[in-house]
Amino acid sequence: MKTSQDLTFHDRVVALTPGGEALEQCLQCGSCGGSCPAGADMDHTPRGLFAMIRAEMEDEVLRSNTPWYCVSCYACTTRCPQQIPITDIMYTLKQMAIQAGHYDHPHATKFSETFIGFVEQRGRSFEAGLATRYHLYHHPTDMVRLGMMGLNMLRRNRLPLRPKSIREVDQLQAILAEAKAIAAKETYR
């Protein structure tokens, strides 16, 4: 097995993404950026980012806000004439940026981490907890606005305050722990 030192940045992105080999076939057409509903907020279009990956601009790519603005809508993926799994590559880049400690757009990460924290603990997501914990830590000034919205949600029976749990949490946690252990070993297949 190759180690991370043997592989270029481009190769690692490919290796971490199921079907990622198609990235080699990018013809720089720009259909991805043109189709992206959040493209206007990105510092590089996906097309630009792919050129940068080819140019081994690891640092710039992992600091780009592009993956963090990806909304996972798959518009680029279905339109890509080369069948590049663009959305999945964005997931890979987010994961690599977190591992490298290289992201300058922390809200998205913190939101994901808070969300998944509840899931790992209980097996189910927990909206009321997510909203309060995430906003309290990361957007405390928003709490008033959020409080109003929370009240409106409560009034409509749309914000249960008690988290739900699955029965066999132990089974889930054992699976996730094993998956994390494998991921740590097999990051670069």
Partner: protein
């Protein structure tokens, strides 16, 4: 051909903020004569969050559900949430496509005494089940209260249309539009029917999210929609709960109610709005529902060619 019972994966949203979807699904299923049997001890699908953090645990989280459904003897799993549908469908498909991935996922599942053979459970979205298994012809015979005069925008959102279009075109799906016509309603032209609602953007980068929400609501309103109809709790939440925030940002005042497809289907089946969770939405749906008329709207007359228009070329004599 409908089954009598389907194994059902409701997803977290339907137990939290989208009870309306859950109750309308249950009551519509009963009215149509099939059961939705909740699978035992299902867990969250991870939404779009887990894949951003750590790929393999994200797949393993989803695969636990597939493995447990298979152990229950299910060969199909019916999912009402588009995000859950995508994650379950994608995990099954990619495990079949990439044996390396399947091996690692199963190694993780083994820690919980589980195993999943890709292809065992066919993951289906509820809208596809109702449309393909029951079918338009049969549905038409069950309609007791046609939705005459109601103009609906069929909002498919992303994840049933992409990346794998499950029953319709990726770019321009029309199945739900046809469903509305069967129900007696009118389906308005809606260019942004598969445009993204922004997912979690309303939380992490509000203005990005609100702009996307605004575009969709504006497009439906300008085409005369009385309501937007969705198949996903995330889309419903964004377009409904944040519609006024989007209005504020763009200085507009759209008030387009956002309904689930089983809510409009249920109305046409003669169910009461209260049995369909109508009333839990932020933008009140009753003004739209009150527009439903007893009689079909007059068929628009075919316009004759305007005599003042450019003349047809005339052959010289």
């Amino acid at each position: 051909m409908t089954r009598q019972a389907y194994t059902y994966y409701p997803g977290c949203s339907l137990q939290h903020r989208s009870h309306a979807y859950e109750s309308s699904n249950r009551n519509v299923a009963q009215a149509l004569g099939f059961d939705l049997v909740e699978m035992d001890d299902w867990n969250c699908c991870g939404a779009t969050e887990y894949f951003s953090l750590n790929r393999l645990p994200a797949y393993a989280l989803v695969a636990r559900n597939l493995a447990r459904a298979a152990n229950e003897g299910a060969d199909e799993l019916v999912v009402p949430c588009s995000a859950c549908f995508l994650n379950l469908h994608k995990t099954d498909k990619q495990m079949a496509q990439y044996p390396d991935l399947a091996r690692s996922v199963n190694q993780a599942l083994a820690a919980g005494d589980l195993h999943y053979t890709p292809g065992t459970v066919r993951v289906r979205h509820l809208v596809e089940v109702i449309i393909s298994d029951i079918g338009f012809t049969e549905l038409a015979t069950r309609i007791t209260r046609p939705l005459y005069g109601l103009k609906l925008a069929a909002y498919y959102g992303c994840l049933i249309a992409r990346p794998d279009s499950i029953f319709d075109s990726t770019e321009h799906p029309t199945t739900m539009d046809r469903l509305f016509e069967v129900l007696g309603a009118e389906s308005v032209p809606f260019a942004l029917k598969t445009f993204c609602c922004g997912g979690h953007m309303a939380q992490i980068s509000a203005e990005t999210g609100f702009e996307m929400i605004h575009k969709i609501v504006k497009n439906a309103a300008e085409n005369g929609a009385d309501a937007i109809v969705t198949v996903c709790p995330m889309c419903q939440l964004n377009l409904d709960v944040y519609q006024n925030s989007a209005n504020k940002l763009f200085d507009t005042d759209y008030q387009v109610p956002i309904l689930f497809f089983t809510q409009v289907l249920g109305l046409a089946l003669g169910l009461k709005p209260s049995d369909l969770g109508i009333g839990q939405e932020f933008v009140d749906a009753m003004p739209a529902i009150n527009k439903i008329s007893e009689v079909p709207p007059p068929k628009p007359k075919r316009e004759r060619r305007d005599k003042q228009a450019l003349p047809m070329p005339v052959m010289p004599e």
